[in-house]
């Protein structure tokens, strides 16, 4: 059935997130934008127990699932509706509405966690994720390191290597990663970890690329640079260098085989690419949150100036600004509904690679356009750093760049609808 009813649980969660956004994030948003590498401690402190509880229940679910698989017990009519992903999208939209830069500093396993959830064994989940499930302990962060100076969208060009030292049964990592979100928080400022993509066989191309878990404190791992960015300045973005960094054999996620048919399937590169099935809707949701914030402020400020949007006016009576606002509301709604669809499909266990790229491409672009337009509409006040709209414009742009640029997501959509492989449509 086609239905847009927001579950009661999600509504309550959104109320909580709105409270955090209004009382903690918004009041400090400007401060952390102007002081780039400071940590949003108020937000981190508040969110850590919330995120830890979330992680705790996810881990428990994984354990139960493993137990059931062991005993081969059929799921006895346990048809409880799964809304985990939808619920996360609502949470992130609301937090991003508060301040997307702080939201990116959420103390949690982050993108590293997504990869681990997607492909790790239960034993690995226990080893790597338990640190994110203890609300009494200090906050911890997780990150993912994919991009390299010579490998952006072209992930197959990754040249960080992982070599197996058969004597010690350890992987030895060498190379440089850049643009790693929360990398310093994960490696230097907490007992966290980074999921690092490295190749074990350069001649094998993508099939040789594997994700490895590198924990904080590993010798030979060094955060070398903190980036200075256009926006999302409260978010930690770093370069990491690996020099003969040794990690245990079991820190590889998925199969170590390069030409194992399994490896090409759900467990290997493609399997881990499933990270994007969730991370792209997540980026889309955050983009929607930022744009909604900008649009709401714009409508409020216009209303203060006596300009309201008349939804039942004749087209010829609308002013250019009223029309702009209505158009932006359309872009926002389109983005959000595409995002919810991608999340809902994931909850239903359906493949959503097409839909997640669709929502990311749409929301990333729409959010950027909306925020740029809001600065324009508000004129001298929009451009002023006294208000947040100029910050929102800078913050919004990242959603059109990370987790695959707009163009890369269009490419994925195009391949899917045309039925072309990556070799046929390059």
């Amino acid at each position: 059935m086609i239905d847009f009813t927001i579950p009661e649980k999600v509504k309550q969660q959104t109320q909580m997130a709105e409270m955090v956004a209004t009382t903690i994030m918004r009041p400090t948003a400007r401060k952390y934008d102007e002081n780039e590498h400071d940590r949003p401690v108020e937000f981190i402190k508040f969110m850590w127990p919330v995120m830890a509880d979330r992680q705790k229940s996810t881990l428990e679910k994984a354990r139960r699932k493993a137990e059931q698989a062991d005993t081969d017990e059929p799921e006895n009519g346990n048809k409880k509706e799964n809304i985990a992903n939808l619920s996360m999208l609502f949470l992130i939209e609301q937090l991003a509405w508060g301040d997307v830069a702080q939201y990116l500093s959420l103390p949690s396993a982050g993108l590293g966690g997504f990869a681990i959830e997607a492909v790790a064994t239960l034993d690995q989940k226990e080893r790597f994720l338990s640190r994110y499930a203890d609300s009494k302990a200090k906050p911890a962060w997780g990150a993912m390191a994919m991009t390299e100076p010579g490998a952006g969208s072209d992930t197959a060009a990754i040249c960080t290597t992982a070599t197996l030292d058969t004597e010690t049964n350890e992987w030895v990592l060498n190379g440089e990663k850049i643009f790693c979100t929360s990398g310093k928080l994960s490696l230097d400022e907490s007992n966290g970890l980074v999921v690092v993509w490295a190749t074990i066989d350069r001649s094998a191309g993508r099939a040789g690329m594997k994700p490895f878990v590198v924990e904080a404190g590993t010798p030979g791992v060094k955060v070398t640079k903190q980036e200075h960015k256009h926006g999302i300045r409260a978010s930690d973005t770093v370069a990491i260098v690996f020099e003969n960094a040794r990690i245990p054999y079991d820190n590889i996620l998925g199969s170590p085989e390069v030409r194992d048919p399994e490896a090409a399937g759900t467990k290997g590169f493609k399997g881990a690419m499933k990270t994007f099935d969730l991370s792209r809707p997540v980026v889309a949701a955050s983009a929607v949150g930022v744009a909604r914030g900008a649009l709401e402020v714009t409508k409020e400020k216009l209303a203060d100036a006596g300009i309201t949007i008349r939804y039942d006016a004749a087209p010829h009576e609308l002013t250019a600004i009223q029309r702009d606002v209505i158009e932006m509301e359309g872009l926002l709604k389109a983005s959000w509904l595409l995002t919810l669809r991608a999340g809902s499909m994931l909850d239903q266990g359906e493949s959503n690679a097409l839909e997640s790229s669709m929502c990311k491409a749409k929301a990333g672009q729409a959010s950027t356009q909306i925020c740029q337009k809001c600065v324009e509409i508000l004129g001298p006040m929009g451009y002023s750093r006294e208000w947040l709209v100029e910050k929102l414009m800078r913050d919004s742009k990242i959603a059109d760049l990370y987790e695959g640029t707009h163009e890369i997501n269009l490419l994925i959509v195009a391949r899917r609808i045309l039925g072309y492989s990556s070799a046929e449509l390059r």
């Binding site: 009813t5 669809r341 959509v413 609808i417």
Partner: protein, 366 residues
């Protein structure tokens, strides 16, 4: 619970409509457009699918599932995928029936609705749009003046489908005392009602639409839609936009699929043009817009079925779908290049049809 899957009944309905649109509408659309005339048997077969009873509650002879707006939107998308002009032609009597259903008195519903659940298509229509560059669908200029228990209507209407053969037409007019807009059931042949010229349009050629003028047309007070309480005009106009949105999605999807298939087959520079990013990206953008528009239509329809206020939603939706339909169909022509401009291919017709959505605000079909 948020969900994006039609019910099994709705899926079966879509399948049935798809067979009809593929076998009937697609095959006759070109000639019907050229001749500005719809083949009668195609229209009859469409009516015989029994779509309208699916939107009408059982006490009036139908079998509505309570999701009339959503089911209607699904049906209209599928019909418009075949051909939007033939679809509107076939479906035009619904503009009368659904106005009665959404806003009629109990007596009006009992009187008029059962006929629309029959096998034979009753000829009826609705008149809302007016011939003016400053036409305001919220405030039509056609006036209704109360006189001795009667209502006297004066004004000009246009884009009235099937007006020449309709037995009765709902005419929307502004009450000169209250400023409120109501519908009035006007029988064909009423003194002062003149059916004018058939509209000559850029697209939508297979649906005969007419201008009509009302000169002191006198209607008994009980023929006011909704009786003493009057008409829920907002609902009717809002639902018309949901219907237009659904039709636009159908047109956009048709154009996308055609251009996609063409791009896979058309070889230039030694490769299918679909393997070039310039073409592929445009198709990807169209695919995103069509899907986004469909979700917006569904959401607005869902709200309409729940009786929530949706004026803001439908205003946003209307602007969005007008743009989407133009982008999708313009892209269709563009991907086909010069061939897209030739009338052998349907994309130029779809482009002409798509522009129509801007002019049709008030064509009330859901």
């Amino acid at each position: 619970m948020i969900a994006f899957t039609p019910t099994n009944e709705q899926k079966m309905l879509i399948d049935a409509i798809h067979r009809y649109t593929e076998n009937q509408l697609r095959k006759s659309a070109h000639d019907a457009d050229e001749a500005s005339e719809a083949p009668a048997d195609v229209i009859t077969k469409g009516w015989e699918l029994g779509l309208l009873p699916g939107l009408i509650p059982d006490q009036y002879g139908g079998y509505s599932d309570g999701q009339a707006a959503i089911t209607g939107a699904l049906a209209l998308e599928e019909l418009a995928w075949g051909d939007v002009a033939l679809a509107v032609n076939m479906w035009a009597p619904a503009s009368f029936a659904l106005a009665i259903m959404h806003s009629g008195t109990e007596e009006q519903k009992q009187t008029y609705l059962p006929a629309f659940c029959d096998v034979d298509r009753p000829l009826a229509s609705a008149a809302l749009i007016e011939p003016s560059v400053v036409f305001d669908p919220w405030r039509p200029k056609t006036s209704a003046v109360r006189q001795n228990g009667h209502i006297v209507l004066n004004g000009e209407k246009t884009y009235v489908p099937l007006a020449n053969e309709a037995e009765r037409i709902v005419v929307y007019a502004t009450d000169s005392e209250t400023g409120k807009v109501d519908g009035y059931i006007v029988e064909q042949g009423t003194v002062g009602l003149t059916i004018g010229e058939r509209n000559k349009l850029m697209g939508f050629r297979a649906v005969p639409m007419y201008s009509l003028s009302l000169n002191d047309v006198s209607v008994p007070a009980e023929k006011r839609l909704g009786g003493d309480e009057g008409t829920d005009y907002r609902t009717i106009l809002n639902r018309s936009r949901i219907a237009l949105g659904a039709l636009a999605v159908g047109v956009g999807r048709a154009s996308l699929e055609y251009a996609r298939d063409y791009a896979r087959e058309r070889v230039q520079f030694g490769a299918p043009i679909g393997t070039k990013q310039a073409i592929a990206f445009r198709l990807a953008e169209v695919a995103i817009e069509v899907d986004a528009a469909r979700l917006m239509v569904w959401e607005a329809a869902w709200k309409a079925d729940k009786g929530e206020p949706i004026t803001q939603d439908t205003t946003i939706l209307k602007q969005y779908i007008d743009k989407m339909a133009m982008f999708a169909t313009d892209s269709g022509v563009q991907v086909l290049g010069g061939h897209g401009y030739i009338r052998e291919h349907p994309v130029e017709r779809w482009l002409r049809n798509a522009r129509g959505f801007a002019a049709l605000d008030g064509l009330a079909l859901v």
